[in-house]
Symmetry: C2
Subunit: 430 residues, 2 copies
């Protein structure tokens, strides 16, 4: 099928060409029908004056797929400054059943659950489709940055014998008659592969059996995971993360429909120690973690104080981080003992936790001690601990939540609005 | 840590530099110890003559991680033509526990199950690590080709409410108290997204509860999935696949350790109809499918007859393909009726099925009829069928099994040898 995409029509003024796509909208006026055709690239206006074709279009509801052959003429009022005139229209299949809501309106007006029930149609809304392209561009920027720095992409098991992050919130399955679990992160595998390739990343699904119904949690999300060796400490990891974020966001300006406001990544992202973060957020110095309200306050502070959409919070309390976390190598600025804190950090983006990362333990003896402190047995981790018994460099890494990043970037309230087919407490279809 | 990688040492002849990596091997001679250092890039030879350091090296077993500072001098007999002399060696962590098998030998000699039990160490073998880099390069070539052609990368649900390919071989899990299943393919989602983005691809895990213990099946593998709209028929899909394969294999020559023999992708990959394939393989014309022995025979025939490592088999019997398969639009060359065959194809690579693809149904009524013919209810597919009710273009696609491609490319007998942490009937760790 030789076909000109909507955005390329302007290169064919005066010629007769064939376009194809979905009937986005029909506007029937007294003596003319405007057919708005939607394809992968955008919209094209088709001007129909012939009475028989106008009559036939009445039987081609919105979302029907058609091929349109017509002459391209300039019209500054039309999308992309051109329109198709004197068209012939050939349906490619049966007329569509009209969708349960209008895809052509500026915003989808159906309630979110209705949209999600009919995701195959709702995603056709140009705003929804643009979010998918933004997501793909961010991932492309992530990979391009890391490829340039000598990282290798890996694919690791999603069915595991033991929970990685904690025993809770894990999906259990029947693995050939034995218990298996869906991986909550590729953490153990990316660390083991640092022992092989030094620098690795993975883009893949992670699974959390989140029992809470919130606007920012999903039962499956896409995690952008990085891990690399021969670091000095977590600050090397933070520097790499800054470069990766700049590479990701740098991809967005070229999109046909970029986000309204693409945040700048400061040359050095401001960082506050956990104890300072509590003070800035007005929280009690005894708080063991940052609540969402604290993160919002910190986001506002970073914007006001540093003009930054991004803020590192470093030195999280060791007790709140996973067992593989490296303890702090410096005292807290408040004078608190290093041993209570960690070389783990979070990155807040516009007041929401977007990335978790840090330096990891590397000595086998330290892993044994960390597991013992938490009362965890060693045996389920034997294959993982092998890496540390047999020589591992100092290393660290981070994980970015893709859907959350897109949601925050577009300022949408619910991460489900930018996830093609979300999975949560209540939803397993479509 | 300022550090020179092994392959870059030759640019520093005469200078004193710092390298870092794993003790790959120690060769203790009468008056000198050669320390072979392994890093992400390759191997470097360190010449140790000082008696005290030679003594200390006796306590740094293979796989210990060290930093070596020394002077770079040319030596044509050393890896990359240079070696480090007058070194200081600083351990980065505790001495390694010696691995259960030697990583430095040309081949791993331990039995495969032992290697897989200790994957964190076995993967450090340069041959194993090279396979991971080949895998990453193939995926990079896959994406680069499709990105250039306007495809958008997507990430779809891996937990689903109904089996996609057939009821068998599916992992069941507890999804918040309801039954859920691990997706056997992203088929339904990539088709729905053709209705949104026209051209999509996904690189992700798929899950098959394979009850058979074979050398070419895994319970989880990486599927490279493509789907696109506005095709004429399956031949457009085959043409795209040819271009994608060329893009993938074109990435390999630049690797530090490419496969010994990179196959050429013919400008037009030879194709035989299923009925011809049976005849070529010496099978009965009544056979409903190709057995592995038939595929091997066809692979040999393609090589002898067409000088090609690749062979398309088109027109598979409709009854053996999934319900979404488009029936054949041409009669079989044997004169068999089109309705019995399909616009579905397989691609054999060196006598093994590597890719399955074809044209899909696009009319809602055709889906209802296809499900009815198989005695399947419509309701579990409602969200998927929405796409077809509300307008879908003619479309098709394919799926490449990544691990199988790497195995065939390297000529290894068992796909587990090139899969970082394989999952099968017996194996759920590490």
């Amino acid at each position: 099928m030789s076909r000109v995409l909507s955005t390329s029509l302007s290169a064919h003024v005066g010629a007769t060409v064939t376009a194809a796509g979905w009937v986005h909208r029909r506007r029937q006026l007294k003596s003319v029908t405007f057919l708005i055709l939607r394809d992968a690239a955008g919209l094209a206006q088709v001007v129909v004056t012939a009475a028989d074709l106008r009559a036939r279009l009445a039987d081609l509801p919105e979302e029907s797929v058609v091929e349109v052959t017509g002459r391209v003429v300039g019209n500054p009022a039309a999308p992309a400054g051109v329109e198709l005139v004197d068209p012939t229209v050939r349906p490619l299949g049966d007329p569509a059943v009209p969708p349960p809501f209008d895809v052509y309106r500026p915003e989808l007006t159906a309630a979110l659950p209705t949209q999600l029930d009919h995701a195959a149609v709702a995603l056709r809304h140009p705003g929804r489709a643009a979010a998918l392209r933004i997501s793909a561009a961010l991932v492309a920027g992530f990979r391009a940055t890391l490829d340039r720095l000598g990282f290798v992409e890996v694919h690791t098991p999603k069915i595991v014998a033991a929970a990685t992050e904690s025993g809770a919130n894990v999906f259990a399955l029947d693995y050939f008659g034995r218990p298996g679990y869906l991986a909550q992160s590729p953490q153990f595998y990316k660390q083991m592969l640092v022992g092989v390739l030094e620098r690795v990343y993975e883009v893949g699904p992670v699974f959390r059996a989140e029992p809470h119904d919130t606007t920012r949690h999903l039962a499956q999300y896409t995690s952008l995971d990085v891990e690399f060796g021969f670091v000095t400490d977590h600050r090397d990891v933070m520097r790499l993360l800054r470069e990766v974020l700049a590479g990701m966001l740098g991809r967005l300006a070229d999109l046909p429909t970029p986000p309204a406001e693409i945040p700048a990544v400061p040359p050095k992202i401001p960082a506050v120690h956990f104890t300072e973060a509590l003070a800035v957020a007005g929280a009690s110095p005894d708080e063991p973690d940052l609540a969402p309200a604290h993160e919002r306050a910190l986001g506002e502070w970073a914007r006001a104080e540093h003009g930054s959409d991004f803020l590192f919070v470093t030195g999280y309390p060791l007790a709140k981080r996973p067992f593989y976390t490296h303890p702090a190598t410096e005292d807290a600025p408040s004078g608190g003992p290093a041993a209570a804190y960690s070389n783990g950090f979070d990155l807040l983006f516009r007041g929401v936790e977007l990335v978790t990362g840090g330096q990891r333990l590397r000595r086998y003896a330290d892993y044994l001690a960390a597991l013992a402190r938490r009362g965890e047995p060693v045996e389920p981790y034997a294959g993982y601990l092998d890496a540390f018994r047999h020589g591992m460099p100092p290393h660290g890494g981070f994980a970015i939540g893709l859907e959350r990043m897109v949601a925050r970037l577009l300022g949408v309230a619910n991460v489900r609005e930018v996830t093609p087919f979300p999975r949560d407490l209540h939803r397993l279809t479509p």
